[in-house]
C-alpha cells in the first residue's frame, strides 16, 4: 500500500468531483433541495457537513477497526460483531451532530439562528452515514489516512454542490418558472443539468 501524496490527491478529487456524493452518488439530497435557497446558508451547511463528515468518518473507522474487528477476532470470527455496525454508526453521527450544534450555538449565534431546524437534521443526512458506509465497504480505504481524506473530500464535494445549487437558485428566483415546476421540480431539473456538467469530470484520477 503506497501512501504517496498522489494517492491521497486521487482519492480527494475522485470523491469531491468525479464521484461527487450528491450529484453522482445521490447522497444528501434532502438538504441539497431544502437548504440551497441562499448562498451563505448553503455554504454554512456545507461547512457543517464537512466537519461532521470528517469526524464521523474517522470515528466510525476507529470503531470498526479498533473495537468490532478485534473483539470479533477474540470471539473467533472477525465479522462476528458486524451486525452492530449500523447501530454503532448512527449513534456516533447523532452524538457528533449534537457536539457541532452546541459548538455553533456558543460561538456563531447568528449562524445558529439562520439554520433553525436544519442542524439537527444533519443526523438524518444520508451523505454522512453514506460516506461512513462507503469507507467501510471499499477495501482501498482500509487505512485511516485514506479514510480521512475520503470523508473530508466527500464533505467538500457536498459543499461545492450545494453552494453551486444555491447560486443557480438565487437567479431562478427572478425568472419566470411555470407554476407547476416551481420549488422542488425545477430544483431537480437544475440538479440534473449540474450532474450532467459533473459527468465531464469522469476520467480524472482514474
Amino acid at each position: 500500500m503506497t501512501l504517496g501524496i498522489g494517492t491521497l490527491m486521487g482519492i480527494f478529487l475522485s470523491v469531491a468531483l468525479v464521484n461527487n456524493l450528491v450529484l453522482a452518488g445521490f447522497l444528501g439530497i434532502c438538504p441539497f433541495l431544502g437548504v440551497s435557497r441562499k448562498i451563505d446558508m448553503a455554504f454554512g451547511m456545507g461547512c457543517d457537513v464537512t466537519f461532521v463528515m470528517t469526524i464521523s468518518g474517522v470515528v466510525t473507522w476507529l470503531i470498526v477497526h479498533g473495537i468490532l474487528v478485534p473483539v470479533g477476532n477474540a470471539l473467533g470470527d472477525p465479522e462476528a460483531l458486524f451486525f452492530l455496525k449500523y447501530v454503532a454508526f448512527i449513534m456516533v453521527i447523532a452524538s457528533m451532530v449534537q457536539l457541532v450544534e452546541m459548538y455553533v450555538r456558543k460561538f456563531f449565534p447568528p449562524l445558529y439562528t439562520a439554520f433553525g431546524v436544519f442542524l439537527p437534521l444533519i443526523t438524518t443526512n444520508c451523505a454522512i452515514l453514506g460516506a461512513c458506509l462507503l469507507i467501510d465497504m471499499k477495501p482501498e480505504y482500509q487505512n485511516l489516512l485514506n479514510a480521512t481524506v475520503f470523508a473530508f473530500g466527500g464533505g467538500i464535494g457536498f459543499m461545492l454542490a450545494i453552494t453551486l445549487m444555491a447560486g443557480v437558485r438565487e437567479h431562478i428566483r427572478f425568472s419566470d418558472v411555470p407554476k407547476c415546476l416551481q420549488g422542488p421540480a425545477i430544483t431537480l431539473l437544475v440538479a440534473g443539468i449540474l450532474a450532467l456538467a459533473f459527468l465531464g469530470f469522469a476520467g480524472i484520477g482514474s
Binding site: 434532502c30 447501530v87 421540480a185 431539473l189 440538479a191
Partner: protein, 209 residues
C-alpha cells in the same frame, strides 16, 4: 389527519396518493433517485423500506405509552436501525445480486426521513391498527413512486423491463444512456414531480370553482 373519524383505509390511501412520500412530501428522495435505474432495484428497495416502516410503526405504536418524549428520537433511530440490519442481512442472503447493486442504500434506509417521520407523526400517538395502515400506505406509495421512475429509466436507458427487452429494434438505448446515469434520475424525477404538481394544482382549482 389525526382526526379520529378518518378510517384506516383513508389513512392507507393518503400515504399512497395524497401524501405520497416521494412525489408530494419529498421525503426519501435519495433512494428514489439512486436505485431507480431499473424496475427490479426499485421494487426490492421499496419492499425493504416497506418492511422497515411497517415494523418500526408497529414497535413504536406498541411502546407509545412507555417512550418518554425526550428520548423518542433515539428510540426511533435504534428501532429503525435494528430492522434495517435484519432487512440488509436478509437481502444479502437471498437476493445477493440485487443487494450488491443497491450498495449502501439498504443501510441508508436508517436515515430515510420518511420512516422516522411516520413514527413521529403517526405511530407515537395512534393505536396499532391505524399505525399499520399508515405504514402500509407509505410503503406502497414509496414503492409505487420508485417503480414509476424505475420503469421510465429502465425502458429509455436500457430498452428493457425487468431485464426483458421491450423496445422495438429500431430504438437505440445507447443514445439514451443518460437515463441510467445520475443526471437521468434528477431529470426524470423533476419532470414527474412537475406533472404531479400540475395535476394537483388543476384539481385544487377545479375544487374551488
Amino acid at each position: 389527519m389525526a382526526d379520529g373519524k378518518v378510517s384506516d383505509f383513508t389513512q392507507f390511501r393518503e400515504g399512497v396518493v395524497d401524501n405520497n412520500p416521494v412525489l408530494v412530501q419529498l421525503l426519501g428522495m435519495c433512494p428514489a433517485l439512486a436505485v431507480s435505474n431499473t424496475l427490479e432495484n426499485a421494487i426490492v428497495m421499496g419492499g425493504a423500506a416497506t418492511f422497515v416502516v411497517v415494523m418500526s410503526n408497529l414497535v413504536t405504536s406498541l411502546l407509545r405509552h412507555q417512550i418518554k418524549p425526550h428520548v423518542r428520537i433515539l428510540i426511533f433511530t435504534l428501532t429503525i436501525s435494528t430492522f434495517v440490519t435484519i432487512a440488509d442481512l436478509f437481502l444479502r442472503a437471498h437476493l445477493f445480486d440485487v443487494s450488491r447493486k443497491l450498495g449502501p442504500f439498504v443501510p441508508l434506509i436508517i436515515v430515510n426521513c420518511m420512516i422516522i417521520s411516520r413514527a413521529e407523526v403517526v405511530a407515537i400517538r395512534n393505536g396499532l391498527k391505524r399505525s399499520l395502515a399508515d405504514a402500509f400506505g407509505i410503503g406502497v406509495g414509496f414503492t409505487l413512486a420508485l417503480s414509476v421512475v424505475g420503469v421510465i429509466r429502465e425502458i429509455l436507458g436500457s430498452g428493457t423491463l425487468l431485464n426483458y427487452p421491450v423496445t422495438p429494434a429500431a430504438f437505440e438505448p445507447h443514445l439514451w444512456i443518460i437515463m441510467v446515469l445520475p443526471p437521468g434520475a434528477f431529470l426524470t424525477l423533476g419532470v414527474i414531480i412537475g406533472i404531479v404538481n400540475y395535476v394537483r394544482q388543476r384539481d385544487r382549482k377545479g375544487g374551488a370553482a
